[in-house]
Symmetry: C2
Subunit: 122 residues, 2 copies
Amino acid sequence: KSHQNSLQRSAFLALRSSLGPTIGRVPQMRRNFCQTVPYKQKIQEPGCLSRTVLNAYCYGSCNSFFIPANGNESLPFSSCAFCLPRRYRWQTVRLKCPDSVPTIKRKKVQIVSKCRCQTEMI
Amino acid sequence: KSHQNSLQRSAFLALRSSLGPTIGRVPQMRRNFCQTVPYKQKIQEPGCLSRTVLNAYCYGSCNSFFIPANGNESLPFSSCAFCLPRRYRWQTVRLKCPDSVPTIKRKKVQIVSKCRCQTEMI
């Protein structure tokens, strides 16, 4: 598990134990899942020949919690993680555009290689 | 399921079908879960007698996804839902503070009654 997930988990468990008696069953911490799903992305532009690149999208369910504040001078404690790209690079894709001047157009595409539950975009 | 979750699900499915061929297995949309966990919250202040109120905290795993943009002039498509209070009210708790003047202190406490996966705080 990532360091950040461990921090989030530790913070939640520590806080939960300080809350006082919970009524009923205490929920188990479930496992995050965040999938990196490869797909063939079509890069296109009007007047140009399209090209295909290998990319990936992120899909998952990440842990979040919200614990109310303890009176009006403190803040609620909340943490949200999202399934977002953890590793990516920018790739320049050159398209041939026969009827344009110049005949080459460049498009910058974000190529995602790994997704992960994280609390902010890297 | 809430209206918002249906919107998020529909947007994701529509977008995914427009992506082009996916390599490998397409992930199933998993069910969100967002629990409302009752607990006894201790309201305290130095010099005052503490009181206990019935509150709840939120804990869960909500869906999120990130689909890279299709070139440099469009934006990535992403959506993140968090387990947050859906219904809550503000309650004023009066504490007796024998050594203070005045002898009553008021604290406003957010009492959470229902949590739900949602894309923003209500």
